[in-house]
C-alpha cells in the first residue's frame, strides 16, 4: 500500500518542479517574515529572486542547532502567534530547548508524512497500533498519533514504560503494530520471555522503531524475539518530528518524504553539497511548513542518498540508515547528551577532576547503559566510605536531574584516566551502531 501514490511515485522532473516552486515560496516567506533569515540572506548578499533552480539552494544559508537555541522561543516564527495550534520541544537537555511551532496546516503535513511512513510499514485502517513512544513535548508519541489518526487505525496511546501493562494491553486488544524505540522493543521481548509470555501468541505484525539509531543485527533480533516485521523510522523535532523518512517493505533504505522535507548531503567541513551516493552530513529544508520553517538544517547525522524507482513503486529518494554523527552527541535512550555537558557537571563539583571517560553499551536488557568514570581530586579522597559513597551518589543525582540520564558512576583513582596531548577520547561507545 502507498498512502499518497501521486506524491510518492511521481517522476523526478515533476517532483523537482514542485520542490522548486515550494523553495522559492519558502525563501520569500523567510526573507519577508523572519528577521533572523533576512539578516542571513543580507550577509550573504542573496535575494529570494536568486533562486532560479533547485541547485541554487546551495546559495542559501544553513541553520544550526545553535541558531535554533538562540532564537528561542519564537525567533523563527514565520506566521502570527495566533495561528499556532501546537508546540513541541526537542528531547535535548542542554538548557535552552529547540522549539517546533505548528499551524493547523503543519499538523496536517506532519500527519500526512506520518501516515505515509506508517503505510510504508504496512499499517492500514484495520490495524491496532500500540504507541509506546513517550507522549508529551517529545514529538515521538504525538507524531505517531497524528499519523495513525489520519489513517483511521485504532490507536492505543499507552506511552512508554510499565512493560507488564504493555504486554497485557497487547494481548487483550490484539495489538498488530508496535511503535516505540528499538531498545524498548527488545526490553519488552525479554520481559515477556522472563515471564513466560509467548510473543508468538500475540497478533503483532509490524513494529515502527525510531528515535534511536539501530542496526541490522538488532533488526534480526527484534524480528525473531517479537515475531514481527521491524521498520526503521527517522525524524527530528527541528524538522517536524517522526515521519521525515521511513523504510518500505524492501528494507534497504528510508524513503524521505522529499516533497515536504528537502534533503541534501554536504561535506561537514566545507559545506559543499555532495552528489548522491556520497557519505556526508544530512541537511533538511522544510519546504511547506508555515509555523517555524527551517532552511538547510544541519542534522549532524551522517548518511548517503540513493535515487531511482524502488521495487515498492515509490520514487522518493532513499537515505541509508544512520551511519554516525559529525559531532560527539550521544543518544541515550532517546535523550541527547553531549560529553561536554557531563564535563560541565564535573567541573562544577569541587571534588572531581574534569577528567572522565564515558562508556556506552547495550547491556543485558538491550537498553542503553552509560557508565561515567570520574577521577576524584587527591585532596577529596576521604578515609570514610560513607563520604565517598555520598560523593558517588551526588554525581549520579546531578547527571539524572540535569541531563535526564541514569548513569552508573565509577570513581577512579586520580591520574588514572589516560591524558592525551591531542583530542581526548572521552567516549567509548560499544553499541555497534
Amino acid at each position: 500500500m502507498i498512502w499518497n501514490e501521486k506524491n510518492e511515485c511521481m517522476s523526478q522532473p515533476e517532483r523537482e518542479a514542485k520542490q522548486l516552486e515550494s523553495l522559492v515560496r519558502l525563501a520569500e516567506t523567510l526573507y519577508t517574515k523572519v528577521e533572523f533569515y533576512r539578516n542571513k540572506f543580507d550577509e550573504l548578499g542573496i535575494k529570494p529572486a536568486d533562486i532560479q533552480s533547485l541547485k541554487d539552494i546551495s546559495k542559501l544559508p544553513f541553520t544550526t542547532k545553535n541558531d535554533l537555541r538562540e532564537t528561542y522561543p519564537y525567533g523563527l516564527l514565520a506566521t502570527d502567534e495566533t495561528n499556532i495550534v501546537e508546540i513541541h520541544q526537542s528531547s535535548g537537555t542542554t538548557g535552552t530547548p529547540v522549539v517546533d511551532a505548528y499551524t493547523q496546516k503543519d499538523i496536517d503535513i506532519w500527519s500526512e508524512a506520518m501516515a505515509r511512513s506508517l503505510t510504508m510499514s504496512g499499517v492500514g485502517k484495520n490495524d491496532v497500533i500500540q504507541n509506546a513512544y513517550g507522549y508529551g513535548l517529545f514529538t515521538g508519541g504525538i507524531g505517531v498519533h497524528h499519523g495513525a489518526a489520519a489513517i483511521g487505525a485504532n490507536i492505543i496511546p499507552i506511552s512508554g514504560g510499565n512493560t507488564e501493562r504493555q504486554l497485557k494491553v497487547m494481548k487483550d486488544f490484539g495489538t498488530t503494530i508496535l511503535t516505540c524505540t528499538p531498545s524498548y522493543s527488545l526490553y519488552i521481548a525479554e520481559f515477556a520471555a522472563d515471564h513466560g509470555i509467548s510473543m508468538k501468541d500475540m497478533k503483532l505484525r509490524a513494529g515502527v522503531f525510531g528515535a534511536e539509531p539501530w542496526t541490522e543485527e538488532m533488526r534480526k533480533e527484534m524480528e525473531a524475539t517479537l515475531a514481527l516485521n521491524a521498520f526503521d523510522i527517522y525524524g527530528l523535532t527541528e524538522i517536524t518530528g517522526p515521519g521525515v523518512a521511513n523504510e518500505c517493505e524492501c528494507k534497504d533504505g528510508l524513503h524521505i518524504n522529499e516533497d515536504l522535507f528537502y534533503p541534501e548531503i554536504i561535506n561537514p567541513d566545507t559545506g559543499e553539497v555532495l552528489p548522491d551516493g556520497e557519505k556526508g552530513e544530512l541537511v533538511f529544508t522544510t519546504l511547506t511548513k508555515e509555523g517555524t520553517p527551517i532552511l538547510r538544517y544541519r542534522t549532524r547525522d551522517i548518511t548517503y542518498l540513493t535515487r531511482g524507482k524502488c521495487a515498492c513503486g515509490r520514487t522518493t529518494v532513499k537515505m541509508h540508515r544512520l551511519m554516525g554523527r559529525t559531532d560527539d552527541m550521544l543518544i541515550i535512550r532517546g535523550v541527547n547528551v553531549f560529553p561536554t555537558q557531563i564535563e560541565e557537571i564535573l567541573v562544577q563539583m569541587e571534588e572531581t577532576q574534569p577528567h572522565y571517560q564515558i562508556l556506552v553499551d547495550r547491556g543485558q536488557t538491550h537498553l542503553d547503559e552509560v557508565e561515567v568514570w570520574v577521577e576524584v581530586k587527591d585532596e577529596f579522597f576521604f578515609d570514610e566510605t560513607k563520604k565517598m559513597e555520598g560523593l558517588h551518589n551526588r554525581i549520579g543525582h546531578e547527571m539524572k536531574s540535569r541531563l535526564g540520564i541514569n548513569a552508573k558512576i565509577k570513581l577512579v583513582e586520580p591520574k588514572s584516566i589516560e591524558r592525551s596531548t591531542g583530542k581526548a577520547k572521552r567516549v567509548i561507545d560499544k553499541r555497534k551502531l
Binding site: 576524584v376 579522597f381 570514610e384 566510605t385 558517588h392 565509577k410 570513581l411 583513582e413 586520580p414
Partner: protein
C-alpha cells in the same frame, strides 16, 4: 599520642592491592595492621605501618592517593569480653566509633584493636582517664 594510619583509595581494578603490598614490602616497611573497606566499585585500604610517613610518600610517588588519618591503637585483653569492655567504655563516654579492625600483633596475651573515632582527642582523654593502655607506636 594517636597512631598514624595510611589510607589508600583503590578503584575496583585487579592487581592494585598486590601493587600496594609489593611497594610496601620492597621498601622494608613493616605492616602492623591492615583492613579494607569495599563498596561495589571502589575500596579503601587502611594500614598501620612502622614508618607511616615514609610509606605515604612512597605510595604517592607511585601514583596512589594516600591519606593520613589519626586512629587509636587500644590494647585489649585477649579473652572473652576484652573488646566488650572497651566498647562499653566508649559507649558510656560518647566516643563515636567510625570503624575498627584488629592488628597483626601476636604472641602476647593482648590484642591491639585499631579504632577510628569521630573525635580522636576525646577518645584519648577517655582512654587515659580509665587507664586503658594505648599503643602509640609499633
Amino acid at each position: 599520642m594517636a597512631l598514624k594510619q595510611i589510607s589508600v583509595f583503590l578503584e575496583n581494578k585487579s592487581g592494585r592491592l598486590a601493587e600496594v603490598s609489593s611497594i610496601i614490602s620492597n621498601s622494608g616497611i613493616n605492616l602492623r595492621a591492615i583492613s579494607i573497606a569495599d563498596t561495589a566499585d571502589f575500596g579503601i585500604l587502611r594500614m598501620i605501618l612502622d614508618k607511616p610517613d615514609e610509606a605515604a610518600k612512597l605510595l604517592e610517588d607511585n601514583g596512589f592517593t594516600a591519606r593520613k588519618t589519626l586512629v587509636l591503637g587500644v590494647e585489649v585483653h585477649d579473652h572473652p569480653g576484652g573488646l566488650a569492655g572497651v566498647m562499653r567504655l566508649f559507649e558510656e563516654n560518647n566516643v563515636n566509633i567510625e570503624y575498627l579492625y584488629s592488628s597483626l600483633q601476636n604472641a602476647t596475651e593482648k590484642a591491639v584493636i585499631i579504632f577510628k573515632v569521630e573525635d580522636v582527642q576525646h577518645g584519648i582523654e577517655i582512654l587515659e582517664k580509665f587507664n586503658v593502655n594505648r599503643v602509640s607506636q609499633f
